[in-house]
């Protein structure tokens, strides 16, 4: 047993340290000291996030089970930033009477699921990967059912846990077939064993991919998404739609490139159809939603299609574009969710038609929401334009013009419904718009982080070049 193995797991160790400090703080502090709980949690997490960028160590440990390369560290850092924003935004929700007494639990559960995602990202062995996947998905069900006295929340929790377990079992069945075929659970060894496609291998590939598609809510497997997103508390929804999705996309990339690299022909055609359907159906259903959370659910389905679009061509450039897309998607989607959350906590309103005339009463919030919508839709000065641009460039270089055309067409459709929200904010008349309310400082800081991200990520070309230089292809 060599303790230097643990040196590579610095981010995991640091996360567990934050977790332990917070759990002790939450258990052994009196009511007066608890007032500082949110502040200390956010500052500890901020320190953890900054430390993630410093002194990266790369390599592998535990006989190749755990790998921490530059790209893994970068992905974990992106997730850290997202979680920091979510922690900041959750202040007004956790302050309420029926959630204040379980404020600590929210942080514990989020941190432990994030730990599972770290394992998912770094795992190079299916046992470790499976433990990470379950650690990342089971506690989320309790988060979804967090509002104990609201029926919708419990219902969403039940739907989430049943589909999550169903998808993991399907994936496990595929893994068992893969194990029967290859006799090993290490990614590298499996990849060397797979040289030519056999029927059993293709069956295993289909099962494994189906499990991951459920997690990513790509289209034939998306039916749980809208219900769960609507029923869950808004902060949890934002966590589900950005952080969980980011980790799952990375896991998908590692699977496709590192394990099933030799079956490129087979999974390429599967993904082609899935992407085409996902982008289209997500967009078409998003148009007719009035509930803002359901709207964002369908928009996130179609955004997931764009992320996977960069994955499916199988080049290093595609992977770079996809991780860059995740980064941009995290900041823009969290800005949108942050505004929805602030409005919901102040007034209890969540429908798009309630937002009519918001600009007259709450101009700052409307501008943040407008920029988030522009970024999600891909309008030039914002980062969303650049992320879509890089994805399309990567796809065009592999001459996949038909799919590129479908994606471009869908960008136009998506602009329509993103701009419908902006129209509601600025143009639609409303006799009784939402009254002016004050946003707390935590949320303001989170909006500032999001806006800096939306404006600077696109222009700081260093970020894209760095991500592109560390990503890998088949």
């Amino acid at each position: 047993m060599d303790l230097s193995n643990y040196l590579l797991m610095r981010q995991e160790m640091s996360l567990l340290l934050v977790f332990l400090i917070l759990i002790i703080y939450d258990l052994f502090s009196n009511d007066k000291a608890k007032n500082w709980f949110h502040f200390s949690a956010c500052s500890l997490w901020f320190i953890h996030t900054v430390c993630g960028f410093l002194f990266p160590i790369t390599g592998q440990s535990f006989a190749g089970m755990f790998v921490n390369g530059d790209i893994e560290i970068m992905t974990k850092n992106i997730l850290n930033i997202g979680v920091l924003i979510i922690f900041l935004q959750s202040y007004s929700w956790l302050k309420k009477e029926d959630t204040a007494f379980k404020r600590g639990e929210f942080f514990m559960l989020v941190l432990i699921t994030l730990f599972g995602m770290y394992l998912m990202i770094s795992a190079r062995n299916f046992i470790l990967f499976f433990i990470g996947l379950e650690t990342a998905s089971l506690p989320v069900a309790t988060l979804v059912a967090f509002d104990k006295y609201k029926h919708n929340s419990a219902e969403a929790g039940a739907k989430f846990i049943l589909t999550a377990v169903f998808s993991s079992v399907i994936m496990l069945f595929g893994l068992s077939l893969l194990y029967g075929n290859c006799g090993t659970l290490y990614f590298e060894d499996i990849a060397t064993t797979i040289s030519s496609p056999s029927n059993l291998l293709i069956l295993a590939l289909t099962f494994v991919l189906t499990g991951l598609f459920f997690k990513l809510s790509l289209v034939p497997f998306h039916l749980w998404t809208a219900d769960v997103y609507e029923g869950a508390p808004t902060n949890v929804t934002s966590y589900l739609s950005t952080i969980s999705k980011g980790a799952a996309v990375f896991a998908l990339m590692v699977f496709l490139y590192r394990v099933f690299g030799n079956l490129f022909e087979q999974w390429n055609i599967i993904l082609w159809w899935i992407i085409a359907i996902t982008i289209t159906v997500g967009n078409i259903f998003a148009i007719r939603q009035n509930n803002f959370k359901r709207f964002l659910a369908f928009s996130s389905i179609s955004q997931a299609g764009y992320i996977v679009l960069a994955v499916f061509i199988g080049t290093a450039q595609g992977m770079g574009a996809s991780i860059y897309y995740i980064l941009v998607y995290v900041v823009s989607n969290l800005a949108a969710f942050g505004v929805a959350n602030a409005i919901e906590n102040a007034t209890g309103k969540i429908n798009i038609s309630d937002y009519n005339g918001l600009y007259k009463t709450n101009p700052n919030l409307s501008i943040v929401l407008m920029l988030a919508m522009f970024s999600l839709g891909g309008i030039p000065p914002t980062a969303g334009f650049f992320s879509k641009f890089f994805v399309f460039t990567a796809v065009a270089e592999q001459h996949e013009y038909v799919l590129l055309f479908i994606a471009l067409l869908n960008t136009v459709i998506s602009l329509y419904y993103y701009l419908l929200v902006v129209k509601a904010l600025f143009i639609n008349a409303n006799e009784a718009p939402i009254e002016k309310f004050k946003t707390d400082w935590y949320a303001k800081i989170s909006f500032i982080i999001c806006l800096i991200g939306i404006f600077s990520i696109g222009f700081a070309s260093y970020i894209y070049e760095y991500i592109n230089s560390i990503s890998f292809g088949i």
Binding site: F126, I127, F130, I131, E134, L138, A141, T142, A145, K148, H151, N152, A154, E155, A156, G157, A158, K159, I161, L162, V165, F166, V169, I170, L172, F173, L175, S176, L177, Y179, G180, G183, T184, L185, A226, D227, E230, G231, R294
Partner: protein, 103 residues
């Protein structure tokens, strides 16, 4: 008497797809949970049988089975807790009654 590997695999495949059918067709949340357990156990049989018959020198499949059993227990506990919460709210755990979120 030696049982061939195919016999085990046929049983596990049938179990798995019976589970899938139950998951999609049953109306009671607890029965759905039972279907999930059936599927998990089919996977366990698969792993154990592959390990025992094809790769007798190693332990990977057995260990995977152990982890699956542990995690399945955690998952069942969590799901039952949530189902109890639903029952407290609406005194019913049938799927067609748990449809507040459908529009």
């Amino acid at each position: 008497m030696n049982v061939p590997i195919e016999a085990y695999l046929i049983v596990s495949t049938i179990m798995f797809f019976v589970g899938v059918y139950g998951f999609l067709a049953r109306r009671n949340l607890l029965t759905i949970l039972m279907s999930l357990e059936l599927m998990l156990n089919a996977v366990n049989i698969n792993f154990t049988v592959f390990n025992r018959y094809l790769f007798p020198g190693q332990l990977d499949g057995f260990f995977f089975t152990l982890f699956i059993i542990g995690i399945a227990a955690a998952e069942t506990a969590l799901a039952i807790a949530i189902i109890i919460n639903i029952y407290r709210n609406i005194q019913n755990i049938f799927v067609d009654k748990v449809n507040n979120l459908k529009h």
